[in-house]
């Protein structure tokens, strides 16, 4: 089977939203000793881009987006990354994002979807979880030399933590270096401006676009 057919099978597997098929197709590609970087670029990324486009057009729904994202995360964690390590190779990251749900808030489904979309778009994502104190966001961002902090809040009483993160960055002189994106039901574009955050997005696909824009990456 020529390489092109292997990639096509992988793309189709992603479009079938069947994690097992995605796993098998990826494994098959690796068994043929195809370079994992190429598998990601020509198979996985292509498949995810189609899913994302169809989601934006309203042809696919959240379940498709999440299922494709989870299937890809599994093969990245279990197959691609170990193989990359073996070869001492690395995927090119288009930016580093620290993402989490703010302190006092346990709602993390939206945050998880955004994290998974960022990963699939090529960002290096550090998901620090839910109910995370503002200082932890900043600490982690400093530790990994992040470009962006993404802070999610679903409650009106936890939104102020988004402001706190911006202020902490300012205090530590990191405000210009690290961009802040906010999201969650009560957040708005206006709120982002008010607290001095750099970006806001209403949904996961939009979040990827905003993140790319903030880092001046071509869409």
């Amino acid at each position: 089977m020529p390489f092109e057919a292997v990639f096509e099978e992988l793309v189709n597997a992603i479009m079938s939203f069947d994690a097992e098929k995605v796993y098998e197709s990826t494994k098959k590609a690796l068994d043929k000793e195809i370079n994992p970087v190429e598998i990601v670029q020509k198979g996985i990324t292509k498949g995810l881009r189609i899913v994302g486009d169809k989601f934006s057009k309203g042809e696919f729904f959240l379940m498709h987006l999440v299922a494709a994202g989870e299937a890809v995360k599994k093969v990245m964690d279990e197959l691609i990354n170990p193989e990359l390590e073996k070869r001492a190779a690395k995927l090119e990251s288009i930016g580093k994002v620290v993402i989490g749900t703010v302190e006092g808030d346990i709602h993390d489904i939206g945050k998880n979807i955004v994290a998974s979309m960022l990963v699939t778009a090529g960002f290096e994502v550090y998901d620090i979880g839910k109910d995370i104190p503002s200082a932890e966001f900043v600490k982690k961002a400093r530790e990994v030399d992040a470009d962006i902090i993404g802070a999610s809040a679903l409650l009106s009483t936890t939104m102020p933590a988004q402001r706190e993160i911006v202020e902490l960055l300012r205090k530590e002189g990191l405000k210009d270096k690290i961009k802040v994106m906010v999201g969650g039901a009560p957040a708005t574009e206006e709120w982002a401006k008010e607290i001095g955050a750099d970006g806001y997005a209403e949904n996961a696909i939009e979040a990827v676009n905003v993140a790319k824009k903030l880092l001046k990456i071509e869409p």
């Binding site: 989601f55 729904f61 959240l62 379940m63 346990i106 489904i109 009483t157 039901a185």
Partner: protein, 479 residues
């Protein structure tokens, strides 16, 4: 009463719930909640913080839960009893992040004064039997947001108040405020003017915030539940699967409350919420939302013979328009016809993201119509009117007949807002659409309606509690 489930369907959901609570269990991040279940005899995994609840504990809890709960107003004329198929609608729900400005029609961040204004509207609208809110207080320190909101509601209405004050601390402060209004905890127990809205986190989680229910259970002041799993995201992709999720959270909370204090008043809620599969937004105006939060919820509550809480008069539309009207009539009517006792969210737009005074006024009218439908068709010999027909005879009229005077005005609902005039009159009156008329009525209420004030000393003590609370809470976050 309209029934969507057969008794054996409800039983299937109950059995599936028991299986879920026994096999999968619920999660909690609260040691206090974990301990209550542990001492009560549930199967605890302290490491994973999961609770598996055996059937007998749930059956015992259901047996101990009151079958009727009274909610009281500051003035007893506002008291009402929740049981059977009695239906009471109320204004709003939990504090809302935006309000549609009644003057400009623009959405903006609400302030504490908006919470007060909305409460005054709710106090004046006759079909709103109790108050939650359609605004949040965004101009106060966020740490004390709940205290300010509750103060604004209690100060602007005499009707019963349902309010969500999270965590043990939030609950204690809410109890303190309510007790201050009625003159002590003993009096509050006798005449509960507040009811706590406790919300489990779906799927299958009782977060630390739910410790508020423990405080209310100990104080024996009413609690109402509100699990909101959404079909296909925080619940399985089927209506009944999501009902099993909601019912599990609900029965876990009821069991917890009855372990804390047997006989403590708690109102059933097992809601199935609908989701827009494109955005993930919880769609209040969807038909499945009405089926899930109305029909399924009421069916399970009746199966357990417990009073229940749900949605009605809540719109998904972003404006007080035809869509909003269709939505609130649909979910309001389903809730009422299926026998939901406590119905909330009148005045919500945009799936609970925007509060609207115009919508509250429109909902008041819609609820009036719903109550007329609930009243149904009365029949007896006198009403069959054969005597009257014989008296008037063919070709006559009934306009001035005694029999007409006796019955007509109790048979016919006369709208206070909806336009039922002729097209000419409508044009002459300025071609006003419903939201314009609603705005006028709202402005009139805001100008004229003054609710009975709290006694000066009570008002003062209430605001002292809020001030003191704010001081403590703001300090806490600055440490």
């Amino acid at each position: 009463m309209l029934e969507f489930l057969r008794k054996e369907d409800a039983r299937d959901i109950h059995i599936a719930t028991l299986e879920t609570l026994e096999r999968t269990g619920i999660h909690t991040d609260s040691d206090r909640i974990l301990n209550i279940f542990k001492e009560g005899g549930a199967d605890i995994d302290s490491k994973k913080k999961t609770v598996r609840i055996p059937e007998y504990l749930i059956s015992e809890a259901l047996r101990k839960t009151p079958k009727k709960i009274i909610l009281c107003g500051r003035d007893p004329k506002h008291d009402f009893l929740l049981e059977g198929s009695r239906v009471y609608f109320g204004l709003g729900g939990t504090p809302v992040p935006f309000i549609r400005d009644v003057v400009s029609g623009e959405n903006r961040r609400p302030a504490k004064s908006d919470v007060g204004e909305c409460s005054r509207i709710g106090d004046a609208l006759p079909n709103m039997y109790y108050l939650m809110t359609i605004a949040g207080a965004f101009d106060v320190p966020w740490e004390a947001e709940y205290l300010h909101e509750l103060e604004a509601i209690l100060s602007n209405s005499e009707k019963p108040v349902v309010f969500a004050s999270p965590g043990a601390d939030g609950a204690r402060r809410m109890l303190d405020m309510a007790a201050t209004v009625v003159g002590g905890m003993k009096e509050l127990r006798r005449r509960p003017i507040v009811c706590l809205y406790g919300e489990p986190a779906s799927p299958l989680t009782l977060p630390k915030a739910n410790e508020n229910m423990i405080e209310f259970a100990e104080a024996r002041i009413p609690i109402t539940l509100g699990p909101m799993p959404m079909v296909g995201s925080t619940g399985p992709g089927t209506l009944v699967g999501t009902e099993v999720t909601a019912n599990s959270e609900n029965l876990a909370a009821i069991t917890m409350v009855q372990l804390v204090n047997p006989g403590a008043p708690i109102i059933y809620a097992g809601w199935v919420c609908s989701m827009d599969p494109r955005s993930g937004i919880c769609t209040y105006g969807a038909p499945e939302f009405a089926l899930g939060t109305g029909a399924l919820n009421a069916a399970m509550a009746h199966y357990y013979d417990l009073p229940c809480f749900s949605f009605g008069g809540a719109a998904g539309s972003n404006a007080p328009d035809a869509q909003a009207g269709a939505e609130i009539m649909m979910n309001g009517l389903i809730a009422a016809l299926t026998g939901t006792n406590l119905v909330h969210d009148c005045g919500y737009l945009s799936n609970g993201m925007v509060g609207s005074i115009e919508m509250a006024v429109i909902a008041n009218e819609v609820v009036g119509i719903i109550y007329r439908i609930l009243k149904g068709i009365r029949i007896d010999d006198d009403m069959l009117a054969t005597e009257v027909l014989s008296e008037v005879g063919p070709g006559g009229h009934f306009l001035s007949h005694k029999h007409t005077f006796k019955y007509l005005l109790s048979e016919i609902y006369i709208p206070q807002l909806f336009d039922i005039s002729s097209p000419e009159s409508w044009v002459k009156a300025g071609r006003k659409e419903i939201h314009e008329k609603a705005r006028e009525q709202a402005m009139k209420i805001l100008k004229e309606h003054e609710p009975t004030q709290l006694p000066k000393d009570v008002q003062k003590r209430l605001s002292e509690i809020v001030k003191q609370g704010e001081k403590e809470l703001v300090k806490k976050t600055q440490q």
